[in-house]
Amino acid sequence: MKKFSGSVLFLDRADINTDEIIPARYLTENSKLALRPFILEDLTLPGFDPSTDPQKAGVIVTRGNFGCGSSREHAVWVFEVNDINVVIAESFARIFRQNMFNCGMLAIELPPADIEALFKMGPEVEISVDIAKEIVQATGSTKATFAFHLNSFDKELVLAGGWLNYAAQKY
């Protein structure tokens, strides 16, 4: 199982799309690792530098409808190869969310008030996710715990290390 903890990259906007996460011009790469430098390259947010900010993070916290647009799993792989295995958002686009679980990664939905509380904890916060207990633990100058729900199938995919491992065994 992957590591589901780390410092947080806050992306304060809804509807961040797959083209912003990994632009189409990099879809000609045939290895996941080759995507690493291009993470969030086309995302323009005040104070956000895609060339340095994602390198420190293990977790992304963001707003609604994250990962909308294209079906490109490159948008998940570019996080995976940057050691970001958790995205916490108000909601996700369907294909992006499924791609996360299919890769044994976590797409966690929290209510807007919880997301706002995480944003308020500030950039120094560290997050760790307990899948068994279904809680997000955030530690900064204060501590907070947020409960989430994981569909039992999605949980099995994470435990199996992804959909291919699961399906190759079962079907």
């Binding site: 632009p23 294209s70 686009a93 291919l164």
Partner: protein, 426 residues
């Protein structure tokens, strides 16, 4: 309690229920292109699982960057090409026979009512126009689809959209779907199937229905779907004539998939489109839509007519009506990418290609081309394109570029005027 078309298709294809919320479906068709499939192929090879569940149910095409533009895209094409040959995938379309997947595969008769279809491409929702459940998926889903012929989905809720009234002159399926997405917003249909019903849909051709369903994903929808009817049967007839004694018999049979009158919907919305005008996007999200009258006069550098949304013969005919006897405005570049070889040859036969050329357009081979800025037609920073494609994300057609989505007729009007124009005034 009745069932929706999606619920009927799910019930008929259920392989497994791994949880109360999830279903694993047997797949009728797995579609593949050269951008999202090669990594799946490489992974299967590395795992010692280089097999396909059924070569007859796999359809593959090189369409995003074709002919290959550099070593990397040549490698992607080669991986797909070698794999198709190795596994005896008959329905593989390479340079010369290839075209935009969501235009090419329906044209070949690969899509039928009641089918389950996946592809590593978000606009796979297009095929719901035939009364199929068709969904875009990532590479891992595609990989499992190739290997095992299954895919998992959450149980779908369905949003029913009634399109009422009559389509005004000069307003097309593209305008209708942009108008609807503006209301739904970019996540208004997330995790939902969008069922399009009503007299406007009934009167639409399959080409127009594909335009409608193609953009379901732009509202977050899993699939857009239309009830299969006589229009569907007429389109499919060359491919199904050995299966049914008559078109009427096919239409009768298709009714088994129709949503029941007492089916349950997560929501129902009605749009009366009798009064709408041509629609155009203005921002970086496909729900940022205005009446063309509000954007008139916006200068454009490039006009792109093509794609899985609007690169079909009807689209070219509409654009050609505007372009006939006219020229591109000074300084404007026009690019036409007929979506498939059949669209191309039909347009040649009808004199449409000549009209585009005489107007000063560059006519490319069938390809996804400029739509996602991967091959030709890429915008420079600060440039603006009037485009018949489906997505106007920041940087989509080239870093720093701006894309205004519109119908082919509106795009042709922008081409000859050099600015966004209400084509009804020409």
């Amino acid at each position: 309690m009745g069932k929706t078309i999606a619920e009927k298709i799910f019930a008929a294809h259920r392989r497994d229920n791994p949880s109360g919320e999830n279903v694993v479906l047997d797949l009728d068709v797995v579609m593949c292109h050269e951008i999202t499939t090669p990594i799946a192929i490489n992974d299967l090879v590395e795992r010692g699982l280089d097999k396909v569940f059924d070569p007859a149910k796999i359809k593959a095409v090189i369409d995003h960057v074709t002919p290959s533009k550099d070593s990397k895209t040549a490698t992607q094409a080669k991986i797909l090409r070698d794999w198709a040959r190795r596994h005896k995938i008959i329905d593989f379309f390479d340079v010369g026979s290839n075209g935009v997947c969501h235009a090419l595969f329906p044209e070949k008769g690969f899509v039928r009512p009641g089918y389950t279809i996946i592809m590593g491409d978000s606009h796979t929702c297009t095929h719901g126009a035939f009364g199929a459940f068709a969904a875009g998926v990532g590479t891992t889903d595609l990989e499992v689809g190739i290997l095992k012929g299954v895919c998992s989905f959450r149980l779908p809720e369905t949003m029913k959209i009634h399109i009422e009234g009559t389509l005004p002159k000069g307003v097309y399926a593209k305008d209708v779907i942009l108008y609807i997405i503006k209301e739904l917003t970019v996540n208004g249909a997330t995790d939902k199937v969008i069922e399009f019903v009503g007299p406007v849909v009934d009167a639409m051709s399959m080409e127009a229905r594909m335009t409608l369903c193609n953009m379901a994903i732009e509202a977050g929808g899993t699939c857009g779907v239309c009830m299969p009817d006589q229009v569907t049967a007429r389109y499919l007839w060359p491919f199904i004539k050995d299966e049914y004694p008559s078109e009427e018999a096919a239409v009768e049979d298709f009714k088994k998939w129709h949503s029941d009158s007492d089916a349950r919907y997560s929501s129902e919305l009605t749009f009366d489109i009798s009064q709408i005008v041509p629609q155009v996007t203005y921002g970086f999200k496909p729900d940022e839509v205005k009446d063309v009258t509000e954007l008139e006069g916006t200068p454009v550098d490039q006009v792109y007519i093509g794609s899985c949304t609007n690169g079909r013969i009807e689209d070219l005919r509409e654009a050609a009506q505007v372009l006939k006897g006219r020229k591109l405005a000074p300084g404007v570049r026009g690019i036409l990418a007929p979506a498939t070889p059949l669209v191309y040859t039909t347009a040649l036969d009808e004199g449409i290609i000549q009209i585009f050329l005489a107007a000063g357009f560059c006519v490319t081979n069938p390809t996804c081309g400029a739509c996602l800025g991967m091959s030709n037609g890429v915008l420079a920073a600060g440039e603006v394109c009037a485009s018949t494609t489906n997505r106007n994300f920041n940087g989509r057609m080239g870093k720093g570029g701006m894309v205004h989505l519109m119908s082919p007729r509106s795009a042709a009007a922008a081409a000859v005027q050099g600015v966004i124009t209400d084509h009804r005034t020409l």
